[in-house]
C-alpha cells in the first residue's frame, strides 16, 4: 500500500512571553490548539487523535501532563500520545503525528508541543545533585560554549559571526508578532558589546526562557482538499539519535544530525539543499549554532558555514534565509521550540508567514535537536504535493 501524503492545514501558536501568568498550562495549550483549528476551519470533533510533546515532566513538575490536558485538547475518547525526545521533542512529536496520517491510522491529527518555563526550573531540573558525581561546573551555556570554541578553531571563523546571527534573528523577530523578544532598539553594536557569559558566548547570543505552545493540524489528501488555505505538504521527515558521550563523538557536527538530514533529502529528492531549499528554520539556541548547523545539514561544506552567515546569505532577504521567524534566539519554550521550527517552515511554504514571509518560498526545512546534541528531528515541507 502506498503512503498517504500528509498536509499541514492548520498552524497556531501562542503569544510567547517570559511568563504567561494569565493562563494555566491547559489555557496555554488551548490558545495554540484553537488557533490551529481556526486556521484549518475545523472543530474539535474533526480531530481523530492528539499527539503532544514537551520537555521532561520535572520542568513543570506535572507528571504526565498529557492526561490532565485531555479536556483542553478535546482528546477525551480519542487516542492521546506523548512523545519524549528532550529539546528536539517538538519536531519528533510532529513526525509521530505525521506518521499516523501517512500510515492511514488516522485521517486528521492535532499535534501540539508546549513549555511553561516560568512555572518550572529548567536549570535545576537538568542539574540534579547526583551522588558521587562531580558537580556541574557551568550552566547550559557552559555545556555548549566549548563546542563553539572547537568550531571556531576547526574552521578559522572570525569572532564576530555569532553576533551577526543574533542581530539577524532578533531583527527577524520584530516582524513576528508571536515572538517573545521584540528588541526594537537592537543594534549590532549592542549585541557585540553585551556581557560575555561563557566566553565565547555573549548574553545577546543566547536564547531566552519562554512560556508558549505551538500546534498543527495534519491531514490526508481529502482533508487538504477541504482546507480553506493552501497546505504545506510533507516531502520528507526523519529522526536520529546518538549517545551524549562516546569516544569519537563529533560535538561540532554530530553524525546523527548529518544522517538525519541526508535521510530527509533522500526522501524529498533533494540533491543540492543549498540551491533547492528556499528557507530554513533551524534550532539555534546559541547563535554560533547557525554556521555549525549550516555545515551539519549540508548547506555548506565543512568549514564554510560561517562564510554564508558573514556574507548575509542567511538574512531574511538573502539567498538562503535562516530563521525568518526570529528562531529559538527570540522565542524558547523548550518543548515547543522544535515544533515552532517545523510550523514556521510550513508557514513559509503556505505563504502565510506575514511580515517575515520569504518571497516565493516553495520548499523549507524545519530542524530540531536536543539533549547533549543527541536527538535530531527534521522535516522538509513544500508548497506542492509530493509526486510519488
Amino acid at each position: 500500500m502506498t503512503r498517504e501524503p500528509v498536509a499541514v492545514v492548520g498552524i497556531g501558536q501562542t503569544r510567547h512571553a517570559a511568563a504567561r501568568r494569565d493562563v494555566s498550562i491547559a489555557g496555554l495549550v488551548r490558545e495554540a490548539a484553537r488557533r490551529a483549528l481556526d486556521d484549518a476551519a475545523l472543530t474539535w470533533s474533526d480531530i481523530d487523535a492528539v499527539v503532544i510533546g514537551k520537555a521532561p515532566d520535572f520542568f513543570e513538575g506535572v507528571m504526565t501532563p498529557e492526561h490532565y490536558l485531555a479536556d483542553a485538547l478535546g482528546a477525551v475518547g480519542k487516542p492521546l500520545l506523548r512523545v519524549h525526545t528532550a529539546g528536539s521533542v517538538g519536531g519528533s512529536t510532529a513526525l509521530v503525528a505525521a506518521d499516523l496520517v501517512t500510515a492511514r491510522v488516522h485521517r486528521t491529527v492535532l499535534t501540539l508541543a508546549f513549555e511553561k518555563q516560568s512555572e518550572s526550573n529548567a536549570m535545576w531540573g537538568l542539574s540534579l545533585p547526583v551522588p558521587f558525581q562531580q558537580p556541574l561546573l557551568a550552566g547550559a551555556g557552559g555545556f555548549f560554549a566549548p563546542h563553539v570554541r572547537a568550531y571556531m578553531r576547526r574552521t578559522g571563523a572570525p569572532d564576530g559571526v555569532g553576533s551577526l546571527v543574533a542581530y539577524k534573528d532578533r531583527r527577524n523577530a520584530l516582524k513576528n508578532p508571536y515572538a517573545h523578544l521584540h528588541e526594537h532598539d537592537i543594534t549590532l553594536e549592542k549585541v557585540r558589546s553585551s556581557p560575555m557569559l561563557w566566553d565565547p558566548i555573549r548574553y545577546s547570543e543566547t536564547c531566552p526562557s519562554s512560556d508558549g505552545a505551538c500546534a498543527m493540524v495534519l491531514t490526508d489528501r481529502a482533508g487538504a482538499a477541504r482546507a480553506p488555505y493552501p497546505p504545506a505538504w510533507l516531502h520528507g521527515g526523519a529522526m536520529r539519535s546518538e549517545p551524549t558521550l562516546f569516544a569519537g563523538k563529533d560535538f561540532v557536527s554530530p553524525r546523527a544530525g548529518k544522517d538525519c538530514a541526508a535521510d530527509v533529502y533522500r526522501q524529498a529528492g533533494i540533491t543540492d539543499p543549498r540551491r533547492e531549499i528556499d528557507a530554513v528554520e533551524m534550532y539555534v539556541p546559541f547563535s554560533w549554532y547557525e554556521p555549525m548547523w549550516l555545515e551539519n545539514l549540508g548547506f555548506a561544506a565543512e568549514g564554510e558555514g560561517w562564510k554564508l552567515t558573514e556574507a548575509g546569505v542567511t538574512e531574511l532577504d538573502g539567498d538562503l534565509p535562516v530563521n525568518p521567524s526570529g528562531g529559538v534566539l527570540s522565542t524558547n519554550p523548550i518543548g515547543a521550540s522544535g515544533m515552532l521550527r517545523f510550523a514556521e517552515a510550513a508557514l513559509q511554504v503556505r505563504g502565510r508567514a506575514g511580515e517575515h514571509q520569504v518571497a516565493d518560498a516553495r520548499k523549507a526545512l524545519g530542524h530540531a535537536y536536543g539533549g547533549g546534541a543527541q536527538f535530531f528531528s527534521m522535516w522538509l515541507v513544500a508548497a506542492e504535493p509530493p509526486t510519488t
Binding site: 511568563a19 504567561r20 501568568r21 494569565d22 493562563v23 494555566s24 498550562i25 491547559a26 489555557g27 488551548r30 474539535w44 520535572f58 513543570e60 513538575g61 506535572v62 485531555a70 479536556d71 483542553a72 478535546g74 477525551v76 511553561k116 512555572e119 518550572s120 526550573n121 536549570m123 531540573g125 540534579l128 545533585p129 547526583v130 551522588p131 558521587f132 558525581q133 562531580q134 561546573l137 557551568a138 550552566g139 551555556g141 557552559g142 560554549a145 566549548p146 563546542h147 563553539v148 570554541r149 572547537a150 578553531r153 576547526r154 556581557p195 560575555m196 557569559l197 561563557w198 566566553d199 565565547p200 558566548i201 549517545p243 558521550l245 562516546f246 569516544a247 569519537g248 563529533d250 560535538f251
Partner: protein, 321 residues
C-alpha cells in the same frame, strides 16, 4: 570487587502554578469557605471544576456554588500516613460528591478507623483555620449527621449572586514536589570511584573498538559490549576545548571568571570536564597540558593546573573535540 555504592538522592522543587480563571476562582473560594463547581454544556456540575468540558471540549466558565456537605462515593483506608499527606493519624482517602455536584472530589476523611467509614456515609468539610487559597484549605472531611445540624450552618452565601467573583483572588500557587531515590552509580563507576580515592583515574577499554572510556560505564555505547579491561589513565592531560565562565553558577563557591575545560587525560579516548586554575584565565588555550590538583578529602581533583611541558599539537587531540 567492591559492592556497588549507594546513596540517597532527594529531588525537591517548589513549582509554581498559574491558575487560570477557573482554578483561581475555586481556590479563592476555598479561602472564603465556599466550594465552587463548574456547569458543563449539558448541565452537569463538576467539582473540582475544570476549564474545558470533558465531553464537548468547549470552554466552560459557569461557576456554581455547591454545599460543604456531601456523600462518600468510595474510599480506601490509609493506615500509615506519609509525609505531606493531609492528616498525621490514619485516615480514609475518600471520593466525596458534595451536595449539588455531579462528580466527586478526592480528599482525606478523618475517622477513628475503617469500621467507621462506609460508602454512602454523609460527610462535611472541616475547614483549615488558616486558609491561603489552596486545596489544603479543606483540612479534611469529617462524618456529618444531617439531623443534628442547622441548615444555615454554611459559611459564605454572600457570593451566591456572582459565584467565583472575589476581592483579591489567588492567581498562582506554589506546589512543592519531592522524589526520594536510592541512587547507585553501578559497578563500573564504583570501581572508578574506589580508584579515585587513591588518586588514580581508571577507565575501561572496549574489547571491540579498543577505545578507553573514562569514567567507565561497564559497556561501550558504540559497540554495545561489556568493557572490563581496566586501564589507568592520566594523571596528566590536554585541554581540548574550554570556555571562560563569567556568571556564578548556583551552589558553586568559585570566583568568576574561571575556566571550564574539556580535558583528555593521557590514554583516554574522550574528554572529561574540569576547572583550570593556577594560570590567568585569559592565558588558557586549547592544547594546554595540565595535571590534577587534589584537596584533602575530596572525591575529585579540585582543579587542574598547567603541567610544565609544551602544548600538545592540535593534531594529537582534534579527534577528541
Amino acid at each position: 570487587m567492591p559492592e556497588p555504592l549507594t546513596a540517597p538522592l532527594v529531588v525537591e522543587f517548589p513549582f509554581t502554578r498559574s491558575l487560570g480563571p477557573v482554578q483561581s476562582a475555586f481556590l479563592t473560594g476555598l479561602r472564603e469557605r465556599t466550594v465552587l463547581g463548574v456547569r458543563t454544556t449539558d448541565g452537569q456540575v463538576l467539582v473540582p471544576p475544570v476549564e474545558y468540558d470533558p465531553r464537548t471540549a468547549e470552554e466552560i466558565r459557569d461557576l456554581v456554588e455547591v454545599a460543604a456537605t456531601g456523600t462518600v462515593t468510595t474510599w480506601a483506608w490509609n493506615p500509615a500516613p506519609r509525609r505531606g499527606q493531609p492528616l498525621r493519624t490514619p485516615f480514609a482517602w475518600a471520593l466525596v460528591r458534595l451536595d449539588g455536584a455531579d462528580t466527586a472530589l478526592l480528599h482525606a476523611l478523618d475517622a477513628p478507623g475503617p469500621d467507621a467509614v462506609r460508602t454512602g456515609m454523609r460527610v462535611r468539610v472541616r475547614w483549615a483555620l488558616e486558609r491561603t487559597g489552596a486545596i489544603t484549605d479543606i483540612a479534611c472531611f469529617e462524618p456529618h449527621d444531617d439531623e443534628a445540624t442547622e441548615p444555615t450552618e454554611r459559611a459564605a452565601t454572600a457570593h451566591a449572586s456572582s459565584p467565583g467573583v472575589f476581592a483579591d483572588p489567588v492567581t498562582a500557587v506554589t506546589t512543592p514536589a519531592r522524589l526520594d531515590y536510592t541512587y547507585s552509580p553501578g559497578r563500573a563507576q564504583t570501581r572508578y570511584l574506589t580508584a579515585l580515592a587513591g588518586r588514580r583515574t581508571v577507565g575501561e577499554r572496549c574489547p571491540a573498538c579498543r577505545k578507553v572510556y573514562v569514567p567507565p560505564r561497564g559497556a561501550c555505547p558504540t559497540c554495545g559490549v561489556a568493557t572490563d579491561e581496566e586501564v589507568e589513565v592520566g594523571p596528566r592531560g590536554t585541554v581540548t576545548t574550554y570556555c571562560v565562565v563569567n556568571i556564578k553558577a548556583k551552589g558553586l563557591d568559585i570566583e568568576v571568571p574561571y575556566v571550564y575545560a574539556h580535558i583528555a587525560l593521557d590514554g583516554a579516548d574522550l574528554a572529561l570536564h574540569g576547572r583550570i586554575a593556577g594560570i590567568p584565565y585569559d592565558r588558557v588555550r586549547m592544547g594546554l597540558r595540565v595535571e590534577p590538583v587534589w584537596t584533602e578529602g575530596a572525591r575529585y581533583p579540585d582543579h587542574y593546573r598547567p603541567a610544565d611541558e609544551p602544548d600538545a599539537d592540535y593534531d594529537t587531540y582534534k579527534e577528541l573535540l
